[in-house]
Structure formats: C-alpha cells, structure tokens
C-alpha cells in the first residue's frame, strides 16, 4: 500500500523519515498514531470494564439473598456509584473513542486524525482521572457513595470527603472527551478522501460526527455542575443548599441536561456500528441510508429537550410533565425508523451468522426491548410507579449492556482481523456470544419483574417477595461476568496467532477500510484514495 512519501497540501506527515512504530514504552507514551491511540483506548476501556464488572458482581453477590451478607450498606452504595461511573465514563465512552480512532481515518481515507498530538493528550489524561477516582476507595470515609447521578445535597453537604477527588476526576474525563470530540469533528470535516461527500460517509462516521457535537455541547454542562458542587462544598456558596436559598432540584435539571444527551452519546455510535455490520452479513446495502442519518440527527436534537423525564416525581408543574412526556415519546419515532431499517436490510438478504452478526442481531432485538421499556417509562403517570425501581435498572441495562456493550463487542470482532491480520476463531467467538446472550437476559430480564412488583433501586437488602428473581439475576450476572474472560482470551489469542486474514476479511464487507491489507499498515492512506 501507500508507503511512499507524497507531498500533499492537506496531509502533513509528522515524521516523513520514520514509518514504523517506535520501540519500547516510548512508542505508547509519545505516539501520535491513530491506530496506537485507538488500541490504547480499547485496552483502557476493557480494563475499566473488568473493574466495573467486579463491582457489579459484588453488588449482585450481596443481592443474591435477602439480609446483609458480604458488605455494609455504605460500601454497597460506593459499589453502585463507582460501578456506574466507571462503566459510563471508563468503559463505554473510551471504547467508542478507541473505535473512532482506529476506524474513522480508515473509513474516510485519511492518513490519521486531524490533531494527532491532542489525540495523545486526550488519551493519556484518562488513566490519571480514573486513578484519582479509584484511589478514593482507599480514602477515609470511602469512595463516592451517592449514586452515579450524584444528586445534591447527598453529594455536597452529606458527601464523604473524597467527593473533591471525584469532582477533579470528572473534570479531567470531561476535558478528555471534549478534546476527543473536537478531534473527531476536525478529522471528519476536513480529511475525507476526495469524492467522499457527507452523504457517502459510512454510518459509523456519521453517528460519531453527531455524537461528537453532543459531547461538545454537554460535557461543559457536566463540568459546570460539578464546579457548582465544588463551590458549595468548599467555598460556602449555596447553589444546591436549600438552607442557604439554593435549589436541590436545580442540580437535577443541570445534571440531566447533560445526562440525557450523554445517554445518546453512549448509543449513537452503536447505531453506526450495527449499520455497518448488518449490511455486510446480509450482503445487501443498508436500507434507507439517508433516513438513518436523519433519524440519528433527530434523536440527537430531541435529546436536548427531554431531560426532565428523569424527574417526573420531583414535583414539576403539570405543563412541564406533559411537555416532557410528549417530547420523550417523540424519540420513539426516529428510533423505530432505525429498527425498521435494520430489519428491512436483513429482509431478502443473503445472511450468514458469524460472531459480529450474532452480536448485531442480539443488539437489535435486545436494544428494542430496552426501547420498549423506555417508551413505557415515558408515560408520565405510569412513570410514577416505575421511577427509581428495578424496572428502570432493567431498562437502562438493556440499552447499555446488550445495547452499547454488545455493539462494542460486535465491532471488535468485526474489525479485529483488520487490526491484527488474523481471522477470528469462530467457535470461540460463538461460545462468547451465547454465554453473554444467556447471561445478559438471565441477569436483566427478571429485574423488570421485581421493579414492577415494587423493589426500589440502590438498596443493599430487600423484602422477601423479591428474593427469587434476585437470586436468578445474580446467577445470570456471574455467568455474564465470567464469560467475558472468553472475550479477553479471544482477543489475546487473535492478536498472537490465527489464520491469515485477507484484506477483504468478510465476503460482503464494503468500505475503504477493507481496501487496505490486514493487518492494516502503521500508516494508511498517506495518499488519499479516490471515492466515486
């Protein structure tokens, strides 16, 4: 492939005399290569996924039976809080950024990200953010214990001292995300190969472009709200302290103005991935490409006007309830369009069911179930019964685990041969899929039932009538958790050895990334390809 130096006005090779990776640790510390940085993001995210997963298993072990067996309530609250924060900010978001780093330049025919040095920086501040956050577990008073939504005043006046470290950690994560987002936008808007118009971009690129704008819009809001907390805690202000004239509900409004778009930040790139994988294995072009793009854009826009559906029980005026109910229900329309389009893509295709496709189909089915419970939650009067119960826990785990996480696994299996140059071991991939599929459903489906029956979320112990489904969920969680060891084995095994992969890898795959050899050379598209 293109290893010749060409003088192109818009492509600046940072070191024209040096094409392979540097040796040793320096390669990783100083790298500006999108593939290296992508790999580091992915490895980081997998590490965080495991740490957050261990916390989830501690939670499920405690909830296996009624009564307090393993941990104290205060530590239980630390586990639920840290599990949420680590999975959202440490596992899902960095995994998508890692995939973006690897794939966006290769999918648009660019030699690298637009801002490679910033790329290095936005990755390398992340481990420190999470070291700070995790170190709070060992501080006096323990780690943050106020839930990943950190509602004031529980997270201000009544918080453990480690909250200050939590705030600092969130600031660093936010800076990392904003830099990552700027880089992605700059890359997509400026570095597409000649001929690749916006409406020819692969959907993964499109969804990431929209996601990046969401990130830039809402991460500063998150930074704002934690700074207000910092002020309340250390500088005597009363933003959220009712005794000083502040407003605890204001916290929730600001938090969810960040939080709802954040939810879509974690699912839009997944939509992109699934829209790449299903056409490949159905051997049929994606149905309704432009409606897919418009659907993602409308979901992103709507995400700014639905935040208070997380707050139906705070005592909003009736008009507020009605507005947020209607706006939320509207989201079901573009989301439905996406599901219909994926189904229509499969219809009259010529399907095969390799591991990435299995994860993609499971995504569509299980994400849709999560979407249905989301629609139920949107019905404000019914939400008074669902709110803050396990029904909500079931809902968001259905969209995040077999949603976001399955899409990340699907993407990993899909592009792994391109990264490593080795074909997948399908037997092991399918083993991982089926264990995960069973585990996820055994864990999260019963949570709908206990939630409807009346079990509140975030409790370390529960009434006897919830015991049966809870023990079932705990068994499922351990199946799901331990089956991820198969995933790690599969990835490591594939990096080390395997049947040589072709450039095409998958019979039905379309797109620029499949025109470069497998493994993809350290530098790709130093000369931009031509897109018709």
């Amino acid at each position: 492939m293109a290893t010749v130096d060409v003088d192109l006005p818009h492509v600046k090779d940072e070191d024209p005399h040096h094409h392979g990776p540097a040796k040793g640790l320096g390669r990783w510390l100083y790298t500006t290569n999108h593939k290296d940085i992508g790999s580091m993001y992915l490895i980081f995210s997998l590490t965080m996924f495991m740490i957050g997963g261990i916390m989830a298993l501690i939670i499920r072990a405690e909830l296996f039976q009624p009564g307090l067996q393993l941990v104290e309530p205060n530590f239980f609250n630390q586990m639920t809080t840290m599990h949420g924060l680590i999975m959202v900010f440490g596992a899902v978001m960095p995994a998508f950024v890692g995939l973006a780093n690897w794939m966006i330049p290769m999918q648009i025919g660019a030699p690298d990200m637009a801002l490679p040095r910033m790329n290095n920086w936005s990755f390398w501040i992340l481990p420190f953010a999470f070291l700070i956050l995790l170190s709070s577990l060992f501080m006096p008073g323990g780690a943050p214990n106020f839930g990943w939504t950190f509602y004031a005043p529980l997270s201000t006046t009544y918080a453990p001292e480690s909250v200050t470290f939590f705030i600092f950690g969130v600031h660093i994560m936010g800076a990392s995300s904003i830099m990552g987002a700027i880089n992605i936008i700059a890359t997509i808007l400026n570095m597409r190969a000649p001929g690749m118009t916006l409406m020819k971009m692969p959907l993964f690129v499109w969804t990431w472009l929209i996601t990046a704008f969401l990130l830039i819009a809402v991460m500063p809001v998150l930074a704002g709200v934690v700074t207000m907390m910092l002020m309340d805690i250390h500088f005597g202000t009363s933003f959220f302290n009712a005794a000083g004239g502040g407003d605890p509900v204001l916290f929730q409004h600001v938090f969810w103005f960040f939080g709802h778009p954040e939810v879509y930040i974690m699912i839009l790139p997944a939509f992109g991935i699934i829209s790449e994988i299903i056409p490949t294995f159905a051997r049929k072009r994606l149905f309704g490409y432009s409606s897919m793009v418009y659907a993602v854009a409308s979901i992103a826009l709507l995400s700014f006007v639905v935040w208070a559906h997380h707050m139906f029980t705070v005592g909003m005026p009736l008009v507020g309830e009605v507005f947020f109910m209607f706006a939320t229900m509207l989201i079901a329309v573009p989301t439905g369009v996406k599901v219909f389009n994926w189904t229509a893509t499969m219809f009259r295709g010529s399907m095969t069911f390799e591991t990435p496709m299995l994860f993609a189909i499971a995504f569509v089915v299980l994400f849709t179930i999560g979407g249905f419970s989301g629609l139920m939650l949107a019905i404000a009067p019914a939400d008074f019964q669902y709110h803050d119960t396990y029904f909500v826990v079931a809902h968001f785990h259905y969209v995040l685990v077999p949603g976001a996480i399955f899409s990340i696994m699907a993407a990993t299996y899909y592009w792994l041969p391109k990264w490593t140059g080795h074909q997948l071991n399908e037997t092991m991939g399918k083993l991982h899929f089926w264990l995960s599929f069973v585990g996820v459903n055994v864990t999260f489906f019963p949570m709908h039932f206990v939630g409807l029956a009346g079990m509140p979320r975030r409790i370390p112990d529960y009434a006897l009538q919830f015991a049966d489904f809870n023990s079932m969920a705990s068994v499922g969680a351990f199946i799901f958790g331990f089956s991820q060891l198969v995933f790690i084995y599969n990835v490591i095994q594939n990096v080390r050895a395997g049947e040589k992969a072709t450039a095409q890898v998958w019979e039905g795959a379309q797109g620029l990334e499949w025109t470069v050899p497998s493994p993809a050379p350290y530098h790709t598209f130093s000369t931009p390809p031509k897109v018709d």
């Binding site: 605890p248 159905a282 229900m329 295709g349 009067p381 008074f384 009346g454």
Partner: protein, 364 residues
C-alpha cells in the same frame, strides 16, 4: 383482637407477598387502577409492535440465509414504506398521550382534601404531622437487627415494617405535603400509585383516597445515604370510626408522655432506657458498639463531646450540627429519651464519665 384483625387485613391486602410476582400491583385506589390500565395499554402496544418487527426479522433470519441459497436483492430504499412507518408510530403515540395526560391531570388535582398530612423525610425515617390534629410522630424501621444480619429468621414483613405506621381514614381524600429535612427522599406506596420526592426546601403535594381499610407497604425510592434501603413506609387505612378512635388515643397518649417528663429517674433507669433509644436513633451512624465509621461518622466511645461538658453533649443531640449528617433530635425524641440517651452515651459504650441528666433539665 384488633391486632389479629390488623394482621388478617395485612395478609389480605398484600398479595405482593406471593413470590415470582411479574407485574405491577393494581392498587387500591381509582387512580392506581387508572395508572395500571395505562401501564397495560402501553405494554400491549409494545408487545404488538415487537411481535410484528421481530416476526419479520426472524422470518428473514430463517428464510433469507445464504446456507439456504438465498440471493440478496438490490433494493435499499422505499419512500412510501419509510413514510408509513414514521407516520403510524406517531399516530399511536399521540393516541397514547391523550389518556396519559388525562390521568396526570387527576393526579395533580389535590384540591378539596379532607385530611392534610405533612410528610418529612429524614435520614432514615419518616415524620408524619397531621396538620388539623395535634399529632406528630416519627416512623422508624422496626425489623430487628438480628434478622438483617441473618442471625434470626426473617418475618414476612421483613424491611417493610415500622414502629409507628401512618394512619389515614378510608374513603376520605387525604392530601400529603411532602418535604425533607436533610437530603432528598421519595415517599412511595405502590398500592396507592403515589410516589413523590421529598426535597429539602420544597413542599410537594400528592393525594390518595383509599376505599378499603388495610395495611399498605412501600419504601423510600430516592437514594438518601447509607440506610436508604431501611426506611419503609407503612400506611394503615382505618374505617372512619376506627380512625376517630385512633386520633383520640394519640391525644391521650401525648398527655401521658408530658407527665413522664417531669419525673425523676435513677441512673440505671436512664441507662437502660437510653440503650434502646441509642440502638433505634443513633446506632445507624455511630454503630451499635459506638465505634462510628472512620471518615464518615465519628465514634461515641472516647469522643470529646460524649466525655466532655454535659451541656454541649445535650446541645448537639437537641440541635444537631449544621452541615453534617448529625440531625437535630429535639423533634424526634422526647425529653425522657434525650436524657436517657445522653446518660447512656456517657456511661456505656466504653465511656465512664459518671454523670447523668434528668428529663426536666432538657431544654428543647
């Protein structure tokens, strides 16, 4: 007799105790049934859409597979179809939103209530104040610690039982004014379909009109700190006559309590009484053995306050410490309880100060 009746009623009114319950409780009010019907309506809409979409998908997965010789067709868009499947869901949603809005309007109509009760959330208990009567009490979890730590068998109402239940009359519109003293809590009784956040600085409203007497149980549903899982809500709905009797009893009890405060107690009496108060009101944070939780809740054993000047010790219990989790107990504990717990803390849990205080000396 009345106890047996209450028990029988509580068994009748909580079909939720059946294991493997998979659906929402229909509840015991007109509004809760309306909400249940909405829940079922949207559920069945989802089921129908799900069956249609997954039906097509699984048909394709089964039929249009390469191993069966399927050859992919080339079409990849169809404006008519796309418009249809955008418009139809929109219509369904609007149709759904209309009854939902009507129900919401009912829920928000708190006018013309017969009884007004203020509910205040505290870490980790509820306070009920009857605004028209002079009744004011706290409601704490009454499940024994031994059951929670698995040292004895769990009773059927495990974690859903309190020392003083909220008592309301049947067939009357009862309005709740809900607020909180420290952090945000949320007051929920599933059978009433009433869930409202209790927020410091705000007073939220909700209402209920229960047709049948019975005992209904719920929990706090907003994470409020360490013992969030241990602050249940129990509501006893009584017939009108029984309710009137209960109100009269409460007033008589209050008079009796006032007499108690002027009595003289011996040190042993105070310590014995104080131990019970300590375990109920203090042990949650300061721990049953008085050791506290380092970094979160200070120890009582050897503490400067519990072994220092007695007036400062009384003051922190009566008025609390602003900006910390230490609440003011003047509203929650009687003078007798405060005197007892102060005396207990100074002469037990490893402390040996040797002094005591009489209820009459407690200035609230």
């Amino acid at each position: 007799m009345s106890k047996a009746l209450t028990l029988a009623l509580s068994l009748l009114s909580t079909p939720a105790l059946a294991d493997w319950q998979v659906n929402m409780n229909k509840g015991v009010t007109a509004l809760s049934r309306e909400i249940f019907d909405l829940h079922m309506l949207i559920f069945w809409i989802c089921v129908v859409i799900g069956v249609a979409v997954f039906g097509v998908m699984f048909y394709s997965i089964f039929k249009h597979r390469k191993s069966k010789g399927a050859v992919a067709e080339h079409w990849h868009e169809n404006t008519t179809v796309e418009v249809v499947w955008t418009v139809i869901p929109s219509i369904i949603l609007i149709a759904m939103a209309v009854p939902a809005t009507a129900t919401l309007m009912d829920m928000y109509d708190t006018s013309e209530a017969d009884v007004d009760i203020q509910i205040t959330g505290y870490q980790w208990k509820w306070r009920y104040q009857y605004l028209d009567e002079d009744i004011d009490f706290f409601s704490n979890l009454s499940t024994p610690r031994e059951e929670i730590v698995n040292e004895s068998a769990k009773n059927p109402n495990y974690l859903l039982e309190v020392d003083n239940a909220l008592v309301i009359p049947a067939n009357k519109k009862v309005r709740f004014l809900i607020t909180a003293n420290d952090v945000i809590h949320s007051w929920w009784v599933p059978h009433f379909a009433v869930k409202k956040d209790a927020i410091p600085g705000f007073i939220n409203e909700a209402w209920v009109k229960v047709e049948e007497p019975g005992v209904y149980r719920g929990q706090c549903t907003e994470l409020c700190g360490k013992d969030h899982g241990f602050m249940p809500v129990v509501v006893e709905v009584k017939s009108e006559a029984d309710y009137a009797q209960w109100v009269a009893d409460q007033k008589a009890m209050k008079l009796a309590m006032a007499g108690e405060a002027s009595k003289e107690f011996s040190m042993d009496e105070l310590i014995a009484k104080g131990e019970g108060v300590y375990q109920a009101a203090c042990a949650g944070c300061h721990q049953p053995n008085g050791q506290g939780i380092p970094g979160a809740f200070p120890a009582i054993t050897g503490s400067a306050i519990a072994t220092g000047a007695i007036d400062a010790h009384i003051d922190i219990i009566v008025n609390g410490k602003t900006g910390t989790a230490m609440q003011a107990f003047k509203e929650q504990l009687s003078a007798v309880d405060i005197a007892a717990v102060v005396t207990y803390q100074r002469n037990a849990l490893g402390n040996t100060v040797g002094d005591m205080v009489q209820p009459s000396a407690i200035q609230k």
